[in-house]
Amino acid sequence: MLTFILSRLFSMVTVVIGIITLVFLLIHLVPGDPVQVMLGETATIVAQEELRHSLGLDQPLHTQWWHYFTNLLQGDLGTSLHSKEPIVEKIGKPLWETAKLAIAGLFLAILIALPLGSLAALRKDTAWDSGAMLFSLLGISIPHFWLGPLLILLFSLQLKWLPVSGNEEWSSIILPAITLGTALASILARMVRATLLEILNEDYIRTARAKGLRESAVIIHHALRNASLPIITILGLQLGALLGGAVITETVFAWPGIGQLTVESIQNRDYPVVQACVLLISLTYVIINTFTDILYAWLDPRVHYRV
């Protein structure tokens, strides 16, 4: 087990270094002179040189990379060009807001997918099954930036049940969470269905039924528990889509999270903030994925014996 954990952590470190490098290179993709783009055409040469120097852009590429890397290790994400604040201070609250939204979306997705997927598997080839799969197909095909406005149109403007956008009341999180969770719920429901269909043919399910257990006990204790492994894997993998979807969902609902900060910073040409946001979201994804892998191996010893 220890070797497995160490090998996963080692590959995580190499991927993290790669991510940092790629994010570092992002600023060099800006066409023309990034300093001029950031400051606008009216900026004086002195101001331009000052920014160039403070960003370290006047140094050779490998020196710049080393600076960026060592600063990150000391928890320094740079300074916002727009508000002149250190990005670390600026980013804490949005990060928390996004985490709240992502967790709400995740819970909602699990809450929908488990019963829906189980229902589809248990009533295979009935109207229940095709209904559930139709929902799942629609959920995968509907983009966040359309589902969001549709929900606002129905629940906020027509029925007036929920606030349109922002984060003023506790109920503000409901619509963004539905928007974010639907796609994940659809993918998960398919996965739950497919896994359960496989598991329901296993010997231990027949044994459980043969010894007279109630059907609900068979499903919850014997089938779903064994289905949890592949479901955890899919959850970990889909987290990236969830975090990416959060960027668009936050823009739709003016949710004050890190996604909205990313889009705003792009519009303000505040590139250091853009880099910091992309870096933090990606690192979260990688770290959670590594821990999912380790959790998986812990839950299912067959995994790490193979390594």
Partner: protein, 268 residues
């Protein structure tokens, strides 16, 4: 082939394709501003009504289909070619080269893909070429992974070993003996890929990072529509419905295609 599950999505996609291609010759006025028609709902004259500048929504929708089709075609051809070549080389050569390429793919996969696309096109600036570039940078990895995995197993097959023994050069083997067998899974991957690209292009345009106005995109039409949802919900409904129909059809056909190719694989 004539089941409704195939026929309906296929005709939706053919309509999309037809409109996208013929839009250049159709008598459309997507950029004609007409103030009397401002925010007018659908009517017999204008089937989908008018937007916040009094432009015909139907005309803009058709032009939007062109944008999404151009981006999808561009991204699929760039990333399919790039990904297949890199994947085949990596799988064929093996060793350190393979190790490095796999690590690079891992790094690209570690980014939530739409996030990287947003950052890339945000930094590169708006424009259809930049959208294609940003989405291809993300798109190649999926094809490369698939091509690599397939090449790894194909290179031990008898016909490849026979070709090697006959003295065929590596490029010829890859092109003539490996690539044709790769095509089926790659085509399925590409089909599903179209759905993702169409959504991603619209998403970028929704954020204002895609095509530049006045060029129409379904995403920017939805964004414009969200500002007038109370008075003119049709502006947000029409492009969203078009987008969803295309994505839904692609996903349905992808499923059918995969099943069909799977069955064929079993019969062999």
């Amino acid at each position: 082939m004539f089941k409704p599950q195939t026929f309906i999505p296929l005709s939706i996609l053919l309509t999309w394709l037809g409109l996208a291609i013929s839009s250049t010759w159709l008598p459309l006025h997507p950029n004609d501003i007409s103030l009397p028609h401002l925010l007018q709902p659908p009517s017999a004259i204008a089937w989908l009504g008018y937007d916040d500048l009094g432009r015909s929504l139907l005309d803009r929708l058709i032009l939007g289909s062109r944008t999404s089709f151009l981006v999808a075609a561009g991204v699929i051809s760039v990333s399919l070619t790039l990904g297949t070549v890199i994947g085949m080389i990596s799988g064929w050569l093996g060793g350190n080269m393979d190790l490095v390429i796999v690590r690079i793919m891992d790094i690209f996969l570690a980014f939530p893909s739409i996030l990287l696309a947003i950052a890339l096109s945000g930094l590169l600036g708006p424009g259809i070429e930049n959208v294609v570039f940003a989405l291809s940078i993300i798109g190649w990895v999926g094809f490369a992974r698939l091509a690599r995995a397939q090449t790894l197993s194909l290179k031990r097959r008898e016909h490849v070993i026979a070709a090697l023994a006959l003295g065929a050069k590596v490029p010829r083997i890859l092109f003539r003996h490996v690539l044709p067998l790769l095509m089926a899974p790659l085509v399925v991957e590409a089909t599903f890929g179209i759905a993702g690209i169409v959504i991603a292009e619209a998403g970028l345009s929704f954020l204002g990072l895609g095509v530049q106005p006045p060029t129409a995109s379904w995403g920017s039409m939805i964004r414009d529509g969200t500002r007038y949802m109370l008075v003119a919900p049709h502006i947000v409904l029409a492009p969203g419905l078009a987008l969803m129909l295309v994505v839904l059809s692609v996903n349905l056909l992808g499923d059918r295609l995969r099943d069909w190719l799977d069955v064929k694989g079993k019969q062999e």
